[in-house]
Symmetry: none
DNA sequence: GTTTACTTTCGATTTCTTTCATTGTAAAAC
DNA sequence: GTTTTACAATGAAAGAAATCGAAAGTAAAC
């Protein structure tokens, strides 16, 4: 039996039983456990199964996709620094837009002590965060609730937003690259962002180092649309230099 | 059973029951309580559950804790009965409006197991409550966040809502009386309700016994606009009789 | 005969889990 | 309101199993 046959057989077993153990596979295919481990590692790297201690399980039974609640808890110190830097760009009396990314939420969290601010957002989480802060006016566009981003999405929201003169818009992104510009994971989410990039006088991208060079499903802006990028000190310096050469201000915190 | 499988099973249990206990999990999976605690800690660090003394609860359940409205809600069996009766009036596939009252929230809570529903609401609390229920479409009008009612209010939201064909609207009220009809505490809140009473084919008022005979600052509908009132068995029978005589169906639960 | 891809052996390490003693906590009983 | 009381959490230590790294073995391919 060849390596590829064995690995295919392992995948079949997982498809049928949901789980396999290293010792069982070793006995079944009459190879050492080390070999089986190499198989499982290779298959796991291709995302075909999830490795566990002692075996492997089907990807469908593995831990759930990251929700906003979980994304919120990733890269916390970086996001907080980025959030503080973003909030520092906002003057009292301004109207700003914040999108439904977890980094934009970090910006919002640093606005809590501010007064006389109009905050436009389609993120329910940001709205919730601002509850009780009566000095801050929170405006939301209408739309349909998207469960994964906890935000309101829809064409009617855009018409609503056009009435506002929004000075600055803060946008998160799934990825930030020279060719694809700013990219996101879902198309409808992208659409509302695309319209808002047009609408905002100043476009500020808040993105931690992990976003650099990554490309998502849909683009919502090119780098030419962007005025400022706020990122952390782990951002790859070659990419930062290239983006700066493209005329974008890059703030590193 | 592998570690990942056990942890996934714990998450499933929490998703179904809302809560788990360390001792139950220890017995169920036949591992020590120390191991379960390590599992819960790991899952809590990833934001997949919220740790409590003796067990853990769902993250969405703990978000509810944030809302005073909801906490108040949980201790009032009358509102729950009214909510259940209201939910029973809603057929699958319908589009319904729920306002930002705590009684309308009780209706929403009884819709959680339903499928193929469109729920229009200006209440952030209701939207939050429906998070993760992907079978239910939640639509919100645009507007400005009102901190006291945790709802979106504004003239633009109305134009947005006119596009929807909403069969049934559920309205709470500060007061319900023969002369003043349905009254509320704040004028802008009233305005959006007034428009929606016009819009909805069927107007259903959900109001516990304390609301009868009370009059608030502004009226948003007369009894002639109302099709059904759902209330509890403490409602004053003389008023109930008069309202029935005015042609309104009164459901007592 | 050498190269290449795959596999094995064998310690050293790591991971997972348990036990036990100690400290901490919530809520009932006073 | 405080004191009990029963239960829960934590830290340290230890054992069993799984994993990893590196070197060595095997067999087909060039």
């Amino acid at each position: 039996m060849y390596l590829e046959e064995r690995r295919q057989a392992i995948l079949n077993l997982i498809a049928n039983h949901g789980r396999v153990s290293v010792s069982d596979l070793s006995a079944r295919f009459d190879v050492s456990e080390v070999t089986i481990r190499a198989d499982l590692q290779a298959l796991a790297e291709r995302g075909l199964l999830v490795r566990t201690y002692g075996g492997a399980i089907s990807t469908t039974y593995s831990l759930q996709e990251l929700s906003l609640l979980q994304r919120r808890q990733q890269h916390i110190p970086e996001k907080q620094r980025i959030g503080a830097a973003g909030a520092a760009l906002i003057a009292d009396g301004e109207a700003v837009f914040l999108d439904s990314s977890s980094t934009a939420l970090a910006v919002a969290q640093h606005l809590k002590s501010r007064r006389d601010l109009t905050l436009v957002t389609n993120s329910l989480v940001i709205a919730q965060e601002m509850l009780g802060l009566t000095e801050i006016t929170v405006v939301m566009p209408g739309g349909t609730l998207h469960h994964d981003t906890v935000s309101l999405i829809g064409p009617d929201g855009l018409a609503f937003l056009e009435k506002y003169h929004i000075r600055k818009g803060f946008f998160g992104a799934y990825g930030l690259s020279l060719d694809a510009g700013l990219t996101d994971g879902s198309a409808p989410e992208s659409e509302i962002k695309r319209a808002l990039v047009e609408l905002c006088h100043t476009v500020i991208v808040v993105a931690d180092a992990t976003k650099w060079g990554r490309v998502g499903v849909t683009s919502y802006a090119s780098l030419a649309d962007v005025d400022t990028v706020i990122t952390d000190d782990q951002a790859p310096s070659d990419l930062v230099a290239q983006v700066r050469a493209a005329g974008v201000e890059v703030v590193i915190v």
